[in-house]
Structures are given as C-alpha cells and as structure tokens.
C-alpha cells in the first residue's frame, strides 16, 4: 500500500538494530494493538464471549442445569416468601446461589440463572453481529456512492441520512416489531423475530457508517493515486472497488467494531421493553439479557438484576475497549 509509506517510515526507524523493512498497515496496526493492554483484554473477553455463545449447551451441561428446567422443590424456593429462592450469598439475599446454581435461581420459576445468562449471549451476539453486517453493507455502499459521485446523488443520500437520524429510533423499532405479523417470509416465531430485529437494527444504523465512509471517500477522491488511475483510463466502478475500497477497509472495520456494542445495547433495550426475542419453554430457550432484566424488574431481587445486567455491561465494555484500541491502532494520525 504505497500511500501509507509516510506512516510506516518513522515507525521503522524507531526500531533499533533491525533492518529497515517495509511493513504493511495491517502489521503496524497489529504491533500497536498488541501494546494496548486494555484493547487486548477487551479482545480476549470478546473471543471468550463468542465461544460461550457457540458452546452454550456444553458449558451449561458442565456447570449448570438446562435453561428450560424448572427447579421448584421446597428446599430451593421458599413458598412463604412468594417463591423467592432460599439461601444468601454475600449481599445477594434470597438468591439461592450455590455450587450447584452459580448465579442462583429465578424467583418463582426456579430456572438456573447461570445457564440463562450463558444462553443470553447467543441471541445478543447473533443479532448484534448480523445487524452490524447489514448496516455496514448498506452504509458503505451508499456512503461510497454519495462521496464518489457527489452532486445530486450526494444530496439525495445525505438527505436520506438526515431523515433517518431524525427518526426517534428506538420508538420506531419498537413500533415496527409490534406491527409486523406472526408469520412471514416462510419464517415464524422467534426465527422471524430474530430476522426482523437484525433487519430493523441494521437498517436504522446505516447512516452512522455511511457518514464516515462518505467523508473518507470525499477526501480519497482527490488523492493522486485516484487521478493516476483515472488518467490510465479506469472507470468509476473499477476505481471504487480497486482503489478506494482497500483504503476504506480500516475505517469501516473500526466503526463496525464500535457499532456492535451499540447494537447489543439496542437489542437489550428492545428485549427489556418486551418486543425482543421471546422466551420459549421448549427447544431453543430464546433467553435475552434484556428480557431477564425486565423479569427482574418485576421481582426486585438483586441477583436477578445483577447477573444479566453485568453480562450486558461486560460484553459492551469489552467491545468498546477493543474498538477504541483498534481505532487508535489503525489511525495513522494517532499520537501514541
């Protein structure tokens, strides 16, 4: 990547006793990222969370009970306390926390909170990742088109972005999920809901990516290598794909990483408000962290709020840390 030599040169001279060699942007970014402890910690947590989501059944079979199993024996749930679990742990009163139930029990139902939290990662991450993918696809396509062609195309797309930003987003998403039918596109139940949530969350977040891509494209368009390509007879689509896109990968990657936590929060908020993925009693449990919190709000038992809430917090924080680090690592102007 010839255009980046000016950033790799000073880096290379810093390393003493090593022969000066050309390093790719990716390698520079990686060395920087490795030095950033917070970002690396975030990255490790992200990987662990993904593993947790993928291997949820296995983890639950080792450390807990299936998420759809009800444990309502009298020695676990206290009927005289309205179904609150027996047993305290630290300040988690009436949590039922024990070696058998790591995060305690759900009041009344007596489901294993640990396995519910583990399963919650599945819905959360699946929706967040795929919704981000939708935003990135729509956002970068429209952003490049607006930035590259300019003129009336740019005006229309920019106006569209502003319209989307003027929508009360959350309100709209809730309303949309509510208004749509129970069965459509050959899907039904939770699979339809998940598909809808991915589409809605992704569809409403594209302007953020588009704005950044558009700005980058605007400045890239004026660069010499684009002029050179054009003078060699290259046409619009070729220039976009072969000349622009490689230079846009870094910002798109960074903002996609930072969009994931936003989408996790968005999904959790929808679930908290009761329009997310619905809890099932058989089959794939469809547990969501937001949904658990909503149930907890009705019960006012602290462990029931604490663990799902912390799951959201840790996940979002890990993605934010990693995304921030990635931005610093990939930004050639970063003053580290």
């Amino acid at each position: 990547m010839a255009t980046r030599t000016e950033t790799s040169a000073p880096e290379a001279t810093k390393a003493p006793a090593k022969a000066i060699e050309g390093r790719s942007l990716g390698r520079i970014a990686w060395t920087r990222l490795k030095r950033d402890k917070a970002a690396m910690a975030g990255g490790v947590v992200v990987i662990l969370l993904i593993l947790m989501a993928v291997f949820a059944p296995l983890i639950v079979s080792w450390f807990g009970h299936p998420p759809n199993e009800f444990h309502q024996d009298a020695d676990l749930l206290a009927a005289e306390l309205g179904g609150l679990p027996r047993g305290d742990f630290l300040f988690f009163e009436n949590s039922g926390m024990s070696g058998d139930f790591l995060f305690g029990l759900e009041p009344q139902n007596g489901r294993d909170l640990f396995s519910e939290v583990v399963y919650g990662a599945r819905v959360s991450l699946l929706i967040a990742f795929l919704a981000t993918l939708v935003s990135v696809l729509i956002g970068s396509t429209l952003g490049v088109i607006a930035g590259f062609f300019g003129g009336i195309v740019d005006t229309v797309i920019s106006f569209l972005m502003n319209v989307f930003l003027a929508f009360p987003l959350l309100l709209f998403a809730i309303a949309l999920v509510g208004v749509l039918p129970d069965r459509a596109f050959g899907l039904s139940g939770n699979s339809l809901r998940i598909a809808l949530l991915i589409f809605i969350i992704g569809f409403f977040n594209w302007p953020y990516i588009a704005r950044i891509v558009r700005g980058q494209t605007l400045s890239l368009r004026e660069r010499e290598f684009v002029d050179a390509a054009r003078s060699l007879g290259a046409r619009g689509p070729y220039i976009i794909v072969k000349e622009m896109l490689p230079n846009l990968v870094a910002p798109i990657l960074v903002y996609a990483t930072l969009l994931i936590p936003t989408n996790i929060l968005f999904e959790a908020a929808l679930s908290f408000l009761g329009v997310g993925v619905q809890r099932q009693v058989v089959g794939e449990p469809g547990v969501t962290w937001g949904g658990l919190l909503a149930d907890a709000a009705r019960n006012s038992v602290v462990h029931f709020m604490f663990f799902p809430g912390m799951a959201i917090f840790i996940t979002v924080l890990a993605f934010n840390l990693f995304g921030d680090g990635l931005r610093d690592a990939l930004d050639p102007k970063s003053k580290r």
Binding site: L165, F167, L273, A297, N320
Partner: protein
C-alpha cells in the same frame, strides 16, 4: 444569513414531511400488506361485540376505504386545520393540531401528548443540566492532565459509563437507594413542579442521575478529545506567548472553541430526549411521552403511535434547526458552504 435560515427551515419542514409519510405508510400501509382490512381497523374503535355491519359503517365514516394517499391527506389536513368527526351520535370537532382520537380511550391524541409533556420535560431538563456540567468538567480536567492518574481513572470510568444500560443502573439504584436504604422516592412517583418543587426534585433525582450518568460519560469523552485538539492549536500558543494567564487561556480560548461541537451534540440529545426518554421512563415508571409511546405500541393504538412519533421527530428536527442556526450566528464559516 436570511437565505440560509430560510433554506434550513424549508429543509426541516421537508424532513418532517418525509418522516410523516414514512410513519404513516408503516402504520397504515404495512398492516394492509400483512392482511389487515378496513374493517379490522374500524374494529379497533368499536367494542368487541360490534358486528360486521357496524364495522363497515364505521370504516366508511373514518375513511378507511379511501386510498392511502387520501387518508394521508386527511391526516395531515387535520394536523393543520383540524377536522370534524362524525361518530353518529353527533359531530365532534377536533381543533388543529388534531392528531385524531385514540382507538381505545377516544381521547384526543394531542391532549394526551400535551398532558404527558411536563414529565418528560422535567426529566430531560434536570438530567441534561447534570450531565452537561459533570461531563464537561471531567473532560476538561482530563484533557488538561492528560496521562495522569485522574485522566486514566476518569476515562476508564467514562468508557464503563457508556457501556452501562440505563435500565440496569436505574434498577440497581431503585433497589439500593429506594428499597434498601429508603433514601429516595420509589419507582412510579412523580409530583408536579407547580404542586411542590421540593417533592418534584426528590421524586426525580434517581431518574436524573441514571440518565445523566450515561450521557455524562459520553460528554466527558467528547470534551476531552475536543480540548486536546484545541489546546494543540496555534492560537493557544499565541495566547500563551502573549503572556495571558493560563486560566484565561484555558477558559476563554481553549474551552470556548472546544465547546462548540459539544453544544451541537447537546442540542440534538435534548431534542431526542424530549420525544421521550423511553428506557428511563419505563424503568422508573414515569408516565411521560416515552411511557405513553410504549403503551400505545403495546396496545396497537395507531393514532397515538402516529402522534407520538411525529411529536418526537418534531423535537429532533427543531433541535437540529436551532443548533444549525446558532452555529451560523456564532461561526461565519458555516454560511459559506
């Protein structure tokens, strides 16, 4: 200047128009694709016992048999000039701005919205003052002591703050401060400011803190980045070279320049919140616009949903407009573009 203002105002009006069309299509067009008929729409206004004939008559009266564009036209006309509804028992006049009547309660949507507004405004005003002050203060201190312990602690805290969902912090606050320690008002309390200002603040303190925490964290991050940028500018060096006091350099030269983008974001955030702080309101059971919206959506009350969405979009667009205009007044470069 005047042309700029006019152009922006027309742009804002156009934007509201597009938002209203899309909202209308989603709530009145989409259900049709999903199989809803004019009769089922009318059925929402009637009791469950109403027969098919009554539904047809009512659908006719409310214009549900009209093509969509005509329905939209009637809707928007009512907003501007009001309309008359013939319910059979007599003609009811709905004065402009008329957003129609609720499917369920038959209350005028506009009256309900105006009713709920004070709660949301109270929540927004208190929280926004709180987060602006704390966020900017922390951001400035962090930027001035870049790399210090305070900076690192504050920025870690801020990152944690933006990662915390408000309903989680809200629930935890309620649990500890209201139910365990009995320091604050329990969820669902709201006292009008005009009735008792002290009680009003007491009942809102937890929602304020919850909402402010989230935004203060974000503002601290913005302010720090902005301050760092500004303090590296040439005019700051010039100011220092002139021998100005460091305090004057920071407040009059640095902060003023760094605050302009913050104020922009602030304006937009306040606009967004005035349309309903959905999560905070539903966590604390405050019956503001956000609560109203959720309620309307859960009950599939389309006139209410339409009204509250437009109300919220209106605040966002107007906030945008005000910010743009203030910007043009403050910063002459804006008008040139």
């Amino acid at each position: 200047m005047v042309t700029f203002f006019i152009r922006r105002t027309i742009g804002a009006a156009l934007m509201l128009f597009v938002v209203s069309i899309s909202t209308f299509l989603i709530f009145f067009g989409l259900p049709r694709l999903a199989g809803a008929t004019p009769e089922t729409f009318a059925a929402r206004y009637l009791s469950r016992t109403a027969d098919a004939h009554a539904q047809q008559v009512f659908a006719e009266k409310l214009g549900f048999y009209d093509p969509l564009w005509l329905q939209y036209w009637n809707w928007i006309k009512a907003v501007f000039v009001g309309t008359d509804y013939d319910y059979g028992t007599g003609i009811e006049h709905c004065a402009a701005p008329c957003f129609g009547y609720s499917f369920r309660t038959n209350h005028a949507v506009w009256d309900d919205l105006v009713d709920r507004l004070p709660v949301t405004v109270s929540l927004t005003v208190g929280a926004s003052i709180l987060w602006l002050l704390t966020g900017v203060a922390v951001g400035v201190l962090s930027a001035l002591r870049k790399g210090s312990f305070f900076d690192r602690a504050a920025m870690t805290g801020a990152l944690a703050g933006v990662s915390l969902p408000p309903y989680f912090t809200g629930l935890m606050f309620l649990y500890f401060f209201s139910y365990q320690f009995d320091l604050t008002a329990p969820g669902g309390t709201y006292v009008n400011f005009t009735d008792d200002p002290g009680e009003w603040a007491y009942s809102l303190i937890l929602p304020w803190i919850t909402l402010a925490m989230l935004n203060a964290a974000a503002y601290a991050r913005f302010t720090r980045a902005g301050m760092l940028d500004t303090m590296g500018e040439d005019f700051i060096r010039t100011a220092r070279a002139k021998g100005l006091h460091e305090r004057v350099v920071v407040t009059k030269h640095g902060l003023r320049a760094a605050l302009t983008p913050i104020i922009t974001i602030f304006g937009l955030d306040v606009g967004l919140l005035l349309g309903g702080a959905i999560l905070t309101e539903s966590t604390f059971g405050l019956k503001g616009l956000g609560y109203f919206a959720i309620d309307a959506i859960n009950k599939q009350d389309f006139p209410q949903i339409m009204g509250v969405t437009m109300f919220a979009a209106f605040f966002v667009v107007v906030a945008n407009l005000i910010v743009d205009m203030l910007y043009a007044v403050v910063d002459p470069r804006v008008r040139l573009s």
